[in-house]
Protein backbone atom coordinates (compact mmCIF):
# COMPACT_ATOMS: atom_id res chain seq x y z
CA UNK A 1 0.00 0.00 0.00
CA UNK A 2 1.50 3.25 -1.11
CA UNK A 3 1.83 5.73 1.70
CA UNK A 4 1.25 8.67 -0.65
CA UNK A 5 -2.17 7.30 -1.58
CA UNK A 6 -3.20 7.16 2.05
CA UNK A 7 -1.93 10.68 2.65
CA UNK A 8 -3.72 12.09 -0.41
CA UNK A 9 -6.94 10.28 0.50
CA UNK A 10 -6.94 11.79 3.96
CA UNK A 11 -6.09 15.26 2.60
CA UNK A 12 -8.93 15.14 0.07
CA UNK A 13 -11.38 13.95 2.70
CA UNK A 14 -10.40 16.76 5.06
CA UNK A 15 -10.72 19.34 2.27
CA UNK A 16 -14.18 18.04 1.35
CA UNK A 17 -15.36 18.04 4.95
CA UNK A 18 -13.92 21.54 5.31
CA UNK A 19 -16.44 22.83 2.77
CA UNK A 20 -19.16 22.36 5.39
CA UNK A 21 -17.59 25.16 7.41
CA UNK A 22 -17.45 27.63 4.53
CA UNK A 23 -20.56 29.53 5.57
CA UNK A 24 -20.63 32.83 3.87
CA UNK A 25 -21.81 35.80 5.86
CA UNK A 26 -24.97 37.34 4.50
CA UNK A 27 -23.55 40.85 4.53
CA UNK A 28 -23.37 42.46 1.16
CA UNK A 29 -20.00 43.64 0.00
CA UNK A 30 -19.41 47.35 0.33
CA UNK A 31 -16.95 49.83 -1.04
CA UNK A 32 -14.57 51.63 1.31
CA UNK A 33 -16.05 54.66 3.14
CA UNK A 34 -13.28 56.89 1.80
CA UNK A 35 -14.20 55.92 -1.73
CA UNK A 36 -17.86 56.64 -1.05
CA UNK A 37 -16.98 60.08 0.34
CA UNK A 38 -14.82 60.81 -2.66
CA UNK A 39 -17.63 59.88 -5.02
CA UNK A 40 -20.38 61.60 -3.07
CA UNK A 41 -18.85 65.07 -3.42
CA UNK A 42 -18.49 64.76 -7.16
CA UNK A 43 -20.94 67.09 -8.88
CA UNK A 44 -20.79 64.82 -11.92
CA UNK A 45 -23.11 62.36 -10.23
CA UNK A 46 -26.00 64.72 -10.99
CA UNK A 47 -27.61 65.06 -14.36
CA UNK A 48 -30.00 67.87 -15.18
CA UNK A 49 -33.51 67.40 -16.49
CA UNK A 50 -32.33 68.93 -19.78
CA UNK A 51 -29.68 66.25 -20.19
CA UNK A 52 -32.19 63.52 -19.45
CA UNK A 53 -34.71 65.04 -21.86
CA UNK A 54 -32.07 65.20 -24.55
CA UNK A 55 -31.11 61.58 -24.03
CA UNK A 56 -34.74 60.44 -24.16
CA UNK A 57 -35.40 62.45 -27.33
CA UNK A 58 -32.25 61.09 -28.96
CA UNK A 59 -33.29 57.59 -27.86
CA UNK A 60 -29.91 57.08 -26.23
CA UNK A 61 -29.67 53.30 -25.70
CA UNK A 62 -27.29 53.72 -22.77
CA UNK A 63 -29.87 55.57 -20.68
CA UNK A 64 -31.57 53.49 -17.98
CA UNK A 65 -34.16 55.45 -16.01
CA UNK A 66 -34.94 53.95 -12.62
CA UNK A 67 -38.01 55.42 -10.91
CA UNK A 68 -37.67 54.88 -7.17
CA UNK A 69 -41.14 56.15 -6.20
CA UNK A 70 -43.97 53.86 -5.14
CA UNK A 71 -45.84 51.86 -7.77
CA UNK A 72 -48.99 54.04 -7.48
CA UNK A 73 -47.10 57.24 -8.11
CA UNK A 74 -45.32 55.54 -10.96
CA UNK A 75 -48.60 54.52 -12.55
CA UNK A 76 -49.92 58.09 -12.31
CA UNK A 77 -47.05 59.68 -14.12
CA UNK A 78 -43.64 58.47 -15.18
CA UNK A 79 -40.97 59.29 -17.67
CA UNK A 80 -41.05 57.26 -20.87
CA UNK A 81 -39.17 53.95 -20.70
CA UNK A 82 -38.43 54.31 -17.01
CA UNK A 83 -38.36 51.22 -14.79
CA UNK A 84 -40.16 51.30 -11.45
CA UNK A 85 -38.10 50.00 -8.53
CA UNK A 86 -39.54 51.40 -5.28
CA UNK A 87 -36.84 52.38 -2.82
CA UNK A 88 -37.78 49.62 -0.36
CA UNK A 89 -37.25 46.89 -2.94
CA UNK A 90 -34.09 48.39 -4.38
CA UNK A 91 -31.79 45.81 -2.83
CA UNK A 92 -33.75 42.74 -3.98
CA UNK A 93 -31.61 40.41 -6.01
CA UNK A 94 -33.88 40.88 -9.03
CA UNK A 95 -33.77 44.67 -8.76
CA UNK A 96 -30.00 44.66 -8.50
CA UNK A 97 -29.81 42.99 -11.92
CA UNK A 98 -30.64 46.37 -13.42
CA UNK A 99 -27.39 47.87 -12.20
CA UNK A 100 -23.86 47.45 -13.33
CA UNK A 101 -24.70 46.58 -16.93
CA UNK A 102 -21.65 47.63 -18.95
CA UNK A 103 -22.30 50.65 -21.14
CA UNK A 104 -25.44 51.85 -19.40
CA UNK A 105 -26.00 54.99 -17.38
CA UNK A 106 -28.48 54.46 -14.58
CA UNK A 107 -30.39 57.64 -13.73
CA UNK A 108 -32.46 57.65 -10.56
CA UNK A 109 -35.72 59.58 -10.70
CA UNK A 110 -38.10 60.51 -7.89
CA UNK A 111 -40.40 63.40 -7.06
CA UNK A 112 -37.46 65.38 -5.74
CA UNK A 113 -33.84 64.33 -5.55
CA UNK A 114 -33.85 63.13 -1.95
CA UNK A 115 -35.14 59.62 -2.61
CA UNK A 116 -33.07 59.25 -5.73
CA UNK A 117 -30.03 60.42 -3.78
CA UNK A 118 -30.70 57.69 -1.24
CA UNK A 119 -30.93 55.16 -4.02
CA UNK A 120 -27.67 56.48 -5.44
CA UNK A 121 -25.87 56.09 -2.10
CA UNK A 122 -27.25 52.57 -1.58
CA UNK A 123 -26.17 51.34 -4.99
CA UNK A 124 -22.86 53.17 -4.80
CA UNK A 125 -22.08 51.50 -1.49
CA UNK A 126 -22.65 48.17 -3.20
CA UNK A 127 -20.04 49.19 -5.73
CA UNK A 128 -22.21 49.88 -8.77
CA UNK A 129 -20.72 52.50 -11.06
CA UNK A 130 -22.19 54.88 -13.61
CA UNK A 131 -25.24 55.72 -11.55
CA UNK A 132 -26.64 59.25 -11.57
CA UNK A 133 -29.30 61.33 -9.91
CA UNK A 134 -31.68 63.55 -11.84
CA UNK A 135 -31.45 66.96 -10.16
CA UNK A 136 -34.73 68.24 -8.81
CA UNK A 137 -36.56 65.07 -9.75
CA UNK A 138 -39.92 65.09 -11.47
CA UNK A 139 -40.93 68.39 -9.89
CA UNK A 140 -38.04 70.04 -11.62
CA UNK A 141 -38.94 68.09 -14.77
CA UNK A 142 -42.41 69.66 -14.79
CA UNK A 143 -41.00 73.12 -14.14
CA UNK A 144 -38.31 72.99 -16.77
CA UNK A 145 -39.41 70.61 -19.49
CA UNK A 146 -43.19 70.49 -19.35
CA UNK A 147 -43.81 74.13 -18.41
CA UNK A 148 -40.65 76.03 -19.30
CA UNK A 149 -40.52 79.71 -18.26
CA UNK A 150 -39.51 82.18 -20.87
CA UNK A 151 -36.31 83.94 -19.82
CA UNK A 152 -36.31 87.71 -19.21
CA UNK A 153 -35.02 89.90 -21.95
CA UNK A 154 -31.85 90.85 -20.16
CA UNK A 155 -30.79 87.23 -19.61
CA UNK A 156 -27.90 85.57 -21.32
CA UNK A 157 -27.99 83.93 -24.70
CA UNK A 158 -27.56 80.48 -23.21
CA UNK A 159 -30.76 81.00 -21.23
CA UNK A 160 -32.59 81.56 -24.48
CA UNK A 161 -30.94 78.55 -26.06
CA UNK A 162 -32.00 76.41 -23.10
CA UNK A 163 -35.50 77.81 -23.40
CA UNK A 164 -35.63 76.98 -27.08
CA UNK A 165 -34.53 73.43 -26.33
CA UNK A 166 -37.07 73.09 -23.55
CA UNK A 167 -39.87 74.30 -25.78
CA UNK A 168 -38.85 71.68 -28.29
CA UNK A 169 -38.70 69.04 -25.58
CA UNK A 170 -42.13 70.16 -24.37
CA UNK A 171 -43.52 69.49 -27.83
CA UNK A 172 -41.88 66.10 -27.83
CA UNK A 173 -43.19 65.01 -24.45
CA UNK A 174 -46.63 66.65 -24.36
CA UNK A 175 -47.49 67.08 -28.01
CA UNK A 176 -48.32 70.76 -27.38
CA UNK A 177 -48.80 73.01 -30.37
CA UNK A 178 -45.81 74.89 -31.61
CA UNK A 179 -45.93 78.63 -31.12
CA UNK A 180 -44.88 80.62 -34.11
CA UNK A 181 -41.28 81.54 -33.72
CA UNK A 182 -40.28 85.19 -33.56
CA UNK A 183 -37.91 84.66 -36.38
CA UNK A 184 -40.63 83.52 -38.74
CA UNK A 185 -42.37 86.89 -38.47
CA UNK A 186 -39.48 88.72 -40.03
CA UNK A 187 -40.08 89.25 -43.65
CA UNK A 188 -37.27 88.07 -45.73
CA UNK A 189 -36.54 89.92 -48.90
CA UNK A 190 -34.91 87.76 -51.38
CA UNK A 191 -32.62 89.74 -53.58
CA UNK A 192 -31.56 87.96 -56.63
CA UNK A 193 -28.65 89.02 -58.63
CA UNK A 194 -29.50 89.78 -62.15
CA UNK A 195 -28.00 87.45 -64.57
CA UNK A 196 -25.11 88.92 -66.32
CA UNK A 197 -24.79 88.29 -69.92
CA UNK A 198 -23.12 85.13 -70.94
CA UNK A 199 -19.41 85.45 -71.12
CA UNK A 200 -18.54 86.83 -74.42
CA UNK A 201 -16.13 84.87 -76.43
CA UNK A 202 -12.65 86.19 -76.45
CA UNK A 203 -11.52 84.84 -79.68
Amino acid sequence: MNRNYIFLTILMLLMAIGTFFLTRSNELKQIEPQELLREIIQPTRYVTTDQVAKMIIQKDPSLELIDVRSAEEFNDFALPNSINIPLDSLLNSTSLLNFGIPGTKVVFVANDDIQSDQAWVLTKRLGYNSTYVMTGGLNCWIETIIQPQEPLENESNTAFETYAFRKGAQLYFTGAKAEPQEASKIKVDVVRKKKTAAAAGGC
Binding site: A16, T19, P102
Partner: protein, 200 residues
Protein backbone atom coordinates in the same frame (compact mmCIF):
# COMPACT_ATOMS: atom_id res chain seq x y z
CA UNK B 1 -12.26 38.93 -8.21
CA UNK B 2 -13.32 36.37 -10.80
CA UNK B 3 -14.84 35.50 -13.22
CA UNK B 4 -12.24 37.68 -14.89
CA UNK B 5 -14.12 38.50 -18.09
CA UNK B 6 -17.55 38.94 -16.47
CA UNK B 7 -16.10 41.33 -13.91
CA UNK B 8 -14.29 43.31 -16.60
CA UNK B 9 -10.80 42.62 -15.25
CA UNK B 10 -9.75 41.40 -18.67
CA UNK B 11 -11.57 42.23 -21.88
CA UNK B 12 -13.80 39.91 -23.90
CA UNK B 13 -11.26 39.50 -26.67
CA UNK B 14 -9.07 37.37 -24.44
CA UNK B 15 -11.46 34.44 -24.24
CA UNK B 16 -10.09 32.85 -27.42
CA UNK B 17 -6.51 33.20 -26.19
CA UNK B 18 -7.44 31.63 -22.87
CA UNK B 19 -9.40 28.91 -24.67
CA UNK B 20 -6.34 28.02 -26.76
CA UNK B 21 -4.06 27.93 -23.72
CA UNK B 22 -6.49 25.81 -21.69
CA UNK B 23 -7.10 23.57 -24.73
CA UNK B 24 -3.39 22.88 -25.10
CA UNK B 25 -3.06 22.20 -21.38
CA UNK B 26 -6.09 19.88 -21.49
CA UNK B 27 -4.70 17.98 -24.46
CA UNK B 28 -1.35 17.67 -22.74
CA UNK B 29 -2.89 16.29 -19.56
CA UNK B 30 -5.01 13.81 -21.55
CA UNK B 31 -1.96 12.56 -23.41
CA UNK B 32 0.15 12.50 -20.25
CA UNK B 33 -2.51 10.39 -18.51
CA UNK B 34 -2.34 7.86 -21.31
CA UNK B 35 -5.70 8.75 -22.78
CA UNK B 36 -4.46 8.62 -26.33
CA UNK B 37 -4.52 4.83 -26.08
CA UNK B 38 -7.95 3.38 -26.59
CA UNK B 39 -6.99 0.23 -24.65
CA UNK B 40 -6.28 2.41 -21.69
CA UNK B 41 -9.63 4.12 -22.01
CA UNK B 42 -11.92 1.15 -22.53
CA UNK B 43 -10.10 -0.77 -19.80
CA UNK B 44 -12.54 0.78 -17.41
CA UNK B 45 -15.36 -1.25 -18.97
CA UNK B 46 -13.44 -4.54 -18.84
CA UNK B 47 -12.01 -3.99 -15.40
CA UNK B 48 -8.27 -4.07 -16.11
CA UNK B 49 -7.54 -0.34 -16.16
CA UNK B 50 -9.39 2.37 -14.26
CA UNK B 51 -7.20 5.32 -15.16
CA UNK B 52 -10.13 7.08 -16.88
CA UNK B 53 -12.22 6.87 -13.78
CA UNK B 54 -9.36 8.06 -11.60
CA UNK B 55 -8.37 11.01 -13.74
CA UNK B 56 -11.89 12.26 -14.29
CA UNK B 57 -13.01 11.69 -10.73
CA UNK B 58 -9.90 13.51 -9.49
CA UNK B 59 -10.62 16.41 -11.83
CA UNK B 60 -14.26 16.58 -10.72
CA UNK B 61 -13.53 16.38 -7.02
CA UNK B 62 -10.63 18.82 -7.05
CA UNK B 63 -12.55 21.34 -9.17
CA UNK B 64 -15.69 20.93 -7.07
CA UNK B 65 -14.06 21.36 -3.68
CA UNK B 66 -11.60 23.94 -5.03
CA UNK B 67 -14.35 26.15 -6.44
CA UNK B 68 -16.17 26.13 -3.11
CA UNK B 69 -13.00 27.34 -1.39
CA UNK B 70 -12.32 29.91 -4.12
CA UNK B 71 -15.85 31.23 -3.70
CA UNK B 72 -15.35 31.48 0.06
CA UNK B 73 -12.09 33.38 -0.31
CA UNK B 74 -13.71 35.74 -2.82
CA UNK B 75 -11.48 34.74 -5.73
CA UNK B 76 -14.40 33.71 -7.90
CA UNK B 77 -18.11 34.40 -7.66
CA UNK B 78 -19.97 31.17 -8.23
CA UNK B 79 -23.21 33.10 -8.78
CA UNK B 80 -21.71 34.67 -11.91
CA UNK B 81 -20.54 31.45 -13.49
CA UNK B 82 -22.29 30.20 -16.61
CA UNK B 83 -24.30 27.05 -15.96
CA UNK B 84 -25.14 24.83 -18.88
CA UNK B 85 -28.93 24.52 -19.29
CA UNK B 86 -30.33 21.10 -18.42
CA UNK B 87 -32.56 19.10 -20.80
CA UNK B 88 -33.14 16.07 -18.61
CA UNK B 89 -34.33 13.19 -20.84
CA UNK B 90 -32.29 14.10 -23.95
CA UNK B 91 -29.19 14.43 -21.76
CA UNK B 92 -29.69 10.97 -20.24
CA UNK B 93 -30.23 9.54 -23.74
CA UNK B 94 -27.17 11.40 -25.03
CA UNK B 95 -25.11 10.05 -22.16
CA UNK B 96 -26.07 6.48 -23.07
CA UNK B 97 -25.22 7.08 -26.74
CA UNK B 98 -21.90 8.63 -25.75
CA UNK B 99 -21.11 5.71 -23.46
CA UNK B 100 -21.84 3.22 -26.25
CA UNK B 101 -19.59 5.17 -28.60
CA UNK B 102 -16.98 5.18 -25.88
CA UNK B 103 -16.97 1.36 -25.63
CA UNK B 104 -17.19 0.72 -29.36
CA UNK B 105 -14.73 3.35 -30.52
CA UNK B 106 -12.37 3.37 -27.60
CA UNK B 107 -12.16 7.16 -27.43
CA UNK B 108 -14.18 10.07 -26.25
CA UNK B 109 -14.18 13.12 -28.54
CA UNK B 110 -11.36 14.95 -26.73
CA UNK B 111 -9.06 11.98 -26.40
CA UNK B 112 -9.52 11.01 -30.04
CA UNK B 113 -7.89 14.29 -31.05
CA UNK B 114 -4.95 13.83 -28.71
CA UNK B 115 -4.51 10.40 -30.27
CA UNK B 116 -4.72 11.94 -33.76
CA UNK B 117 -2.01 14.36 -32.63
CA UNK B 118 0.36 11.51 -31.87
CA UNK B 119 -0.55 9.78 -35.12
CA UNK B 120 -2.83 6.89 -34.16
CA UNK B 121 -4.65 5.39 -37.12
CA UNK B 122 -7.71 4.21 -35.20
CA UNK B 123 -8.12 7.74 -33.81
CA UNK B 124 -8.07 9.18 -37.33
CA UNK B 125 -10.99 6.89 -38.22
CA UNK B 126 -12.72 7.76 -34.98
CA UNK B 127 -12.38 11.51 -35.66
CA UNK B 128 -13.65 11.06 -39.21
CA UNK B 129 -16.61 9.12 -37.85
CA UNK B 130 -17.20 11.89 -35.35
CA UNK B 131 -17.60 14.44 -38.15
CA UNK B 132 -19.81 12.04 -40.09
CA UNK B 133 -21.93 11.69 -36.98
CA UNK B 134 -22.19 15.46 -36.62
CA UNK B 135 -23.25 15.76 -40.26
CA UNK B 136 -25.77 12.96 -39.81
CA UNK B 137 -27.17 14.62 -36.72
CA UNK B 138 -27.75 17.90 -38.56
CA UNK B 139 -29.60 15.99 -41.29
CA UNK B 140 -31.97 14.21 -38.92
CA UNK B 141 -32.30 17.18 -36.56
CA UNK B 142 -35.65 18.29 -38.07
CA UNK B 143 -37.14 14.92 -37.05
CA UNK B 144 -35.64 14.69 -33.57
CA UNK B 145 -35.61 18.42 -32.70
CA UNK B 146 -38.70 18.01 -30.54
CA UNK B 147 -37.04 15.39 -28.36
CA UNK B 148 -33.74 17.28 -28.42
CA UNK B 149 -35.34 20.33 -26.82
CA UNK B 150 -37.64 18.49 -24.40
CA UNK B 151 -37.28 18.23 -20.64
CA UNK B 152 -35.87 21.74 -20.25
CA UNK B 153 -35.24 22.63 -16.60
CA UNK B 154 -33.14 25.74 -17.11
CA UNK B 155 -29.68 26.78 -15.97
CA UNK B 156 -29.92 24.96 -12.66
CA UNK B 157 -27.49 23.27 -10.32
CA UNK B 158 -28.18 20.29 -8.07
CA UNK B 159 -28.40 22.73 -5.18
CA UNK B 160 -31.16 24.69 -6.98
CA UNK B 161 -33.15 21.54 -7.72
CA UNK B 162 -32.82 19.71 -4.42
CA UNK B 163 -32.19 22.56 -1.98
CA UNK B 164 -29.33 20.61 -0.42
CA UNK B 165 -26.24 22.77 0.06
CA UNK B 166 -23.27 22.36 -2.25
CA UNK B 167 -21.03 21.16 0.58
CA UNK B 168 -23.05 17.94 0.89
CA UNK B 169 -22.60 17.18 -2.78
CA UNK B 170 -18.90 17.99 -2.57
CA UNK B 171 -18.38 15.74 0.42
CA UNK B 172 -20.58 12.99 -1.03
CA UNK B 173 -18.82 13.04 -4.37
CA UNK B 174 -15.44 13.03 -2.67
CA UNK B 175 -16.31 9.99 -0.57
CA UNK B 176 -17.69 8.16 -3.62
CA UNK B 177 -14.57 9.07 -5.60
CA UNK B 178 -12.17 7.98 -2.88
CA UNK B 179 -14.08 4.74 -2.39
CA UNK B 180 -13.94 4.18 -6.15
CA UNK B 181 -10.17 4.81 -6.17
CA UNK B 182 -9.52 2.20 -3.51
CA UNK B 183 -12.13 -0.24 -4.81
CA UNK B 184 -10.90 -0.16 -8.40
CA UNK B 185 -7.35 -0.70 -7.22
CA UNK B 186 -8.35 -4.13 -5.91
CA UNK B 187 -10.47 -4.98 -8.96
CA UNK B 188 -7.53 -4.07 -11.20
CA UNK B 189 -5.17 -6.31 -9.29
CA UNK B 190 -7.50 -9.30 -9.52
CA UNK B 191 -8.34 -8.85 -13.21
CA UNK B 192 -4.76 -8.24 -14.28
CA UNK B 193 -3.72 -11.54 -12.74
CA UNK B 194 -5.79 -13.37 -15.35
CA UNK B 195 -4.53 -11.34 -18.31
CA UNK B 196 -1.55 -12.96 -19.90
CA UNK B 197 -0.45 -10.24 -22.23
CA UNK B 198 -0.98 -6.65 -21.30
CA UNK B 199 0.51 -3.94 -23.44
CA UNK B 200 -0.57 -0.44 -24.38
Amino acid sequence: MGPLITNGIISNGWDFVIAVVIGIAFGFILEASGFSSSRNIVGVFYGYNFVVLRVFFTAVVVAMVGLLYFDYFGWIELSKIFILPTYLTPMIFGGVVMGLGFIIGGFCPGTSFTAVAIGKLDAVFFAAGLYLGIAGFTLVYPYIGGFFNSGYIGNVTLTDVTGISAAWFAAGFTIVALAAFWGTMFIEKRVRKNIKEYKF
